[in-house]
């Protein structure tokens, strides 16, 4: 594969490096927030290696830190990762070749690696971009999570340092690009309102899942939504945040995570 990386232009390699840098900051935040919130260090590290999907990692840890059960954490993480299904359909062609490389490559499927693959037409370049981005991200992401977890363990009074504000802020910053789309924004606001309203009554973890009622208007007006093909486009569209959907033309200033 190393020879095929030479088919990549310098711009692509440069952009992949920037995305790795941005993701490393997010990964370090993830490790530090998890550990300073009270989880043992192996939890964020194992999540990062085995799940390797930043949005769902944050969600699972967020549910746990809020006092939710493991079942709610797993359910929330899995619903978040359903977007990997259409992503895999969109860029599955890069995973040809021997069975072992297909099985390994599937684990490297992230918003970012899919986005970089989608930037290229030529099959060899698509493959090279996918593998370079996937492998580089896997290395940076896990390394930064370990460093963050170590740093988080050294922090004393997390509430006095305001670290409980860091977690929602990190997520919010990652989500901003996705909120530019009005239909998405309306669905998210409706869902968030439902989750907040349910918080006093439901066990921790469930209000977030209840937010999926925000999708109901889109379900009820299904034909119109399908015609506009918003998400079908989105699966191949540029400038979207990593935690939500692929970003075909990564903007360096936008933080992402796998």
């Amino acid at each position: 594969m190393s020879s095929s990386w030479r088919t990549l232009d310098r711009g692509t390699i440069h952009d992949i490096a920037l995305v790795c840098l941005a993701d490393s900051l997010v990964g370090a935040s993830f490790g530090a927030i998890s550990v300073s919130g009270g989880l043992p260090a192996w939890v964020p590290i194992a999540l990062s290696v085995l799940v390797f999907a930043g949005g769902s990692q944050f969600a699972a840890v967020g549910v746990l830190l809020a006092g939710g059960g493991p079942l709610a954490a797993v359910a929330t993480g899995l619903v978040l990762n359903t977007r990997l299904l259409p992503l895999g359909f969109a860029v599955g062609d890069v995973l040809g070749g021997p069975r072992w490389s297909r099985l390994l490559g599937a684990h490297l499927l992230t918003d970012e690696s899919a986005a970089f693959a989608l930037r290229h037409q030529d099959p060899a370049r698509r493959r090279a971009a996918f593998w370079l981005c996937g492998l580089a991200l896997f290395a940076c992401w896990n390394l930064s999570v370990v460093l963050g977890a170590v740093a988080g363990g050294a922090i004393g009074d997390t509430a006095a340092l305001g670290l409980d504000a860091a977690f929602p802020t990190v997520l919010l910053a990652l989500l901003l690009p996705a909120l530019a789309d009005r239909a998405t924004r309306n669905a998210t606001f409706l869902g968030a309102a439902a989750a907040l309203a349910a918080t006093p009554f439901l066990p921790p973890g469930l209000p977030v899942l209840l937010a999926l009622v925000g999708l109901l208007p889109a379900l009820l007006t299904r034909p119109a939504t399908a015609e506009r093909a918003t998400a079908a486009d989105r699966a191949t569209a540029p400038d979207r945040s990593a935690v939500t959907a692929p970003a075909a033309a990564p903007a360096p200033e936008a933080p992402r995570c796998p």
């Binding site: 939890v43 797993v74 684990h107 910053a173 869902g191 968030a192 989750a195 925000g214 998400a231």
Partner: protein, 102 residues
């Protein structure tokens, strides 16, 4: 998080990743399903932001935390660098607590 839950999340995620490359020649996802899946992620995450910002247990989290997140959010909208955004949010909350705001 029990190890078994972590492994379940990992296995489920891997299955979702593998399904596309494995079945893309035989199946096609309907557009409306793709649309729905694409919006589900931000819906869950914004709800997570809202509850993590405003609630603690079954009640209100106090003013210091949402104030910090608000400052961070404004800076993020203004496209300030990610570390600045996060540090400003935490610092705002910390200073408010130091000043006695809950």
């Amino acid at each position: 998080m029990p190890l078994i839950a972590l492994l379940a999340l990992a296995a489920g995620t891997y299955a979702l990743r593998l399904a596309g490359p494995a079945f893309r020649d035989r199946l096609r996802l309907p557009d409306h399903l793709r649309a729905l899946l694409a919006v589900a992620a931000p819906v869950l995450l914004v709800a997570l932001v809202a509850t993590a910002t405003l609630t603690e247990g079954h009640g209100f989290a106090g003013w210091a935390r949402p104030a910090g997140v608000l400052v961070g959010g404004v800076l993020a909208v203004r496209r300030l660098p990610f570390p600045v955004v996060v540090v400003a949010a935490a610092a705002t909350t910390a200073l408010l607590r130091l000043a006695g705001v809950g």
